[in-house]
C-alpha cells in the first residue's frame, strides 16, 4: 500500500516536541512568497512564540559592510502586553500564518518603540566594539550567554541601557564562515533562566537564519549580475547602432569639406545621406527611450474589433503594406479580450511590420482574429517570407536581437512583455524559407459575462 502526504505538514499536535514545531514553522515559511524581512520575522517568531523555543524577546542585528546594524526587535513591551500576546498565540488551532500576521502587526505597532529604538543602534565591528557584548559574538563567531549584564564590564553601556535585563543570549549568524548578523534573546518578563537546551535550539535557529540570509544574498547577487549583463548587452547594441550612422555622417561630411571638393551631383546626395542618418539617429534615441520608459497598463477586458480596424487603417500600416497581399480574416462576433488596448494595437502593428519586412514584395500576409474557445481568443499573423531559422528562434525574444538591417530588436521583447502581463501565450511556427506564423492567444470572455 502507498500513502500520499503533503509536502507541507501543516499542524503538529500540541504535544509534538517543540524542536519539531520550531523547525516546522521556519521551514514552512520558506515555502511562502515572503520577503527577506518577513522570513527573518518568522525566525524571530519561532524563537519567541510559545510553541517555539519560547524566549520572551528576540532582537536582530544585520551586518552592513563593517557595521552591525539593529533591524528588528520582536516581543512585548510590558508584562501586560506579554500576557495578552501569549494568550493569543496559545489559542488552539492558531497556525503559523496567523502567528506571523500577528507579529507583523506587532512589529509595525512597535515601530515607534522597540524596533525604532534598536534601529538607532549601530556597532562598528572594530577592536573597541568587538571587545564588548553584543558585537563580540559576531566578531568572534561565538555564542555568548551573558548572566549579569548590570555588573559585567564586557557589556556595552548603551546596549545595557536599551535591553534592561541581566541575562541575554547572543547568537552570531554565520554561513560559509561569513558573518551576516546576530540574534539576541532574553526572558525579560518571565525571568526564566536560559537553559543549555534553549541555547542549542536557538543556535539551530541561528544556523537556519544565516543560511537563509546567505542564499537570499546570493540570489540577489545573481539577479544583479543578470541585470548587469543585460545592461552590457544594451550598451553594446547602442554603440553599434550609433556608430554606423556616425561613421556615415563623418565620412560624407569629410568628402564635402575636402579641398578638391565633390562633383556637383554628389553634393546634394551627400547632404541627403547625412540628413537621413541624422533622422535614423533620432529614431534610435526615440525608440530606446520608448522601450525603457514604457510601463504597461493593467490589462482589462475590451472589444478587439475597433482596435484591429484602427491599426489596419493607420497610415504606417497602409504605406508599409503597399505591394503586398494583405488578407484579413476577422470573425464578426469577437469576444472581449484581456489586454491593455493600446498595447494590443502596438502588438498588432509590430507583428504586421515584421511580416512585411520578412516577406518579398508580392507575397501574402494573413491576419486572423477568432474565438478559439469559450475562454480564449487568437490573433495571428502569417507571412510567406524567409522564415525563421532554428538558431534565431531561441533568440527572438531577447532584447536587441534583430535580423533586420536597421531593426532595433525591441518589437518581439515588447510583445512578450505585454503577453506575460496579460496572462497570454505566444506560439510560433516557422521553417527557413517557408514563412512564419505568430499566434497570440489571449484570455477572453463572452460579451456581457462577468469573469
Amino acid at each position: 500500500m502507498i500513502e500520499k502526504y503533503n509536502l507541507l505538514a501543516s499542524d503538529f499536535q500540541r504535544d509534538a516536541p517543540k524542536e519539531l514545531m520550531l523547525l516546522s514553522i521556519i521551514s514552512q515559511s520558506f515555502f511562502q512568497p515572503f520577503s527577506l524581512e518577513d522570513n527573518l520575522l518568522v525566525i524571530l517568531t519561532a524563537l519567541t512564540s510559545g510553541s517555539g523555543v519560547g524566549f520572551n524577546r528576540a532582537m536582530l542585528f544585520l551586518k552592513d559592510g563593517d557595521r552591525l546594524r539593529g533591524e528588528m526587535w520582536l516581543g512585548p513591551r510590558t508584562p501586560e502586553e506579554a500576557g495578552y500576546i501569549w494568550e493569543v498565540l496559545s489559542t488552539p488551532g492558531i497556525g503559523y500564518v496567523e502567528i506571523i500576521e500577528h507579529n507583523r502587526a506587532l512589529i509595525s505597532k512597535n515601530e515607534n518603540t522597540l524596533s525604532h529604538r534598536i534601529k538607532s543602534l549601530v556597532f562598528t565591528m572594530d577592536e573597541t566594539s568587538c571587545a564588548l557584548m553584543p558585537a563580540c559574538a559576531a566578531c568572534n563567531k561565538e555564542i555568548y550567554l551573558v548572566r549579569d549584564a548590570s555588573n559585567d564590564p564586557m557589556v556595552d553601556a548603551k546596549f545595557r541601557e536599551l535591553i534592561q535585563v541581566d541575562e541575554f543570549l547572543c547568537i552570531p549568524l554565520i554561513a560559509r564562515d561569513e558573518v551576516f548578523g546576530e540574534i539576541i534573546l532574553d526572558n525579560a518578563f518571565t525571568r526564566v533562566p536560559i537553559s543549555p537546551g534553549d541555547i542549542k535550539l536557538a543556535s539551530l535557529c541561528g544556523l537556519i537564519a544565516s543560511n537563509y540570509i546567505y542564499s537570499t544574498t546570493l540570489h540577489k547577487r545573481l539577479l544583479d549580475a543578470e541585470k548587469m549583463a543585460a545592461m552590457g548587452e544594451m550598451a553594446m547594441f547602442v554603440t553599434h547602432q550609433l556608430r554606423n550612422p556616425l561613421v556615415t555622417i563623418g565620412g560624407f561630411t569629410d568628402q564635402l569639406l575636402h579641398p578638391d571638393g565633390v562633383p556637383d551631383g554628389r553634393r546634394e546626395r551627400n547632404l541627403k545621406i547625412i540628413r537621413d542618418e541624422i533622422q535614423r539617429l533620432e529614431n534610435i534615441v526615440y525608440q530606446m527611450g520608448h522601450f525603457l520608459r514604457v510601463s504597461l497598463k493593467e490589462p482589462a477586458y475590451f472589444e478587439p474589433g475597433p482596435v484591429i480596424d484602427s491599426v489596419l487603417e493607420s497610415p504606417e500600416v497602409r504605406t508599409k503594406g503597399l505591394g503586398y497581399n494583405l488578407s484579413v480574416k476577422v470573425e464578426p462576433c469577437l469576444p472581449r479580450v484581456l489586454c491593455d488596448p493600446t498595447s494590443f494595437g502596438e502588438i498588432l502593428r509590430n507583428l504586421l511590420d515584421n511580416a512585411f519586412d520578412a516577406t518579398p514584395p508580392g507575397g501574402t500576409v494573413t491576419l486572423r482574429a477568432y474565438k478559439k474557445n469559450k475562454t480564449s481568443f487568437v490573433l495571428s499573423v502569417r507571412d510567406t517570407g524567409r522564415g525563421i531559422s532554428n538558431r534565431d528562434k531561441d533568440q527572438l525574444f531577447r532584447p536587441f536581437f534583430t535580423t533586420k538591417e536597421k531593426g532595433m530588436g525591441l518589437g518581439l521583447p515588447f510583445i512578450k512583455r505585454v503577453m506575460d502581463n496579460c496572462g497570454g501565450q505566444i506560439e510560433i511556427q516557422s521553417r527557413t524559407g517557408r514563412g512564419a506564423l505568430f499566434r497570440l492567444i489571449f484570455q477572453s470572455r463572452e460579451e456581457g459575462k462577468q469573469p
Binding site: 556608430r243 554606423n244 561613421v247 556615415t248 565620412g251 569629410d254 545621406i273
Partner: protein, 117 residues
C-alpha cells in the same frame, strides 16, 4: 591596381568605403552580405578583404572561417562597430581589426600596411 572586397550590410557605409578607397587608388567591389562575398571570391581574385561582423545571415566571423578554408593567402581586415569582438579568438585569424570611426584614416593606413598603395 590592387583589388579590395568590402563586405558591409549598411549600404550607405559600403558606398562611402567604395568611393573613398577608389579615390585612394584601389579597385573596390562592395557586397552587402557574407554569401555574396563568397560568390565574389569564387569568381575573382582579391588582394584584400574588409568585412563587418554583425550582418544579417552569416556573420563576419563565420565568413572569415569559410574564407580561410578557401583562400588562406588573402589578407583580411575586420571593420566592426564593436571593440569587444576582439575578445573572440576567431577574430585573431584576421590580419587587422579596425573599429569603425568617423575618420577612415586608420582603415586606410592598415590597408597600406597590408597591401601597399
Amino acid at each position: 591596381m590592387k583589388k579590395i572586397l568590402i563586405v558591409e550590410d549598411e549600404k550607405t557605409l559600403a558606398l562611402l568605403y567604395e568611393e573613398e578607397l577608389s579615390k585612394a587608388g584601389y579597385a573596390v567591389t562592395a557586397v552587402y552580405d557574407a554569401d555574396a562575398a563568397l560568390e565574389e571570391i569564387a569568381k575573382k581574385t582579391f588582394d584584400l578583404i574588409i568585412t563587418d561582423i554583425r550582418m544579417p545571415g552569416k556573420n563576419g566571423i563565420e565568413l572569415i572561417t569559410q574564407i580561410m578554408g578557401l583562400r588562406k593567402d588573402i589578407p583580411i581586415i575586420i571593420n566592426s562597430a564593436y571593440q569587444s569582438y576582439k575578445e573572440d579568438f576567431m577574430t585573431w585569424a584576421a590580419d587587422a581589426y579596425v573599429v569603425k570611426s568617423a575618420s577612415l584614416d586608420e582603415l586606410k593606413l592598415k590597408i597600406k600596411e597590408l597591401i601597399g598603395d
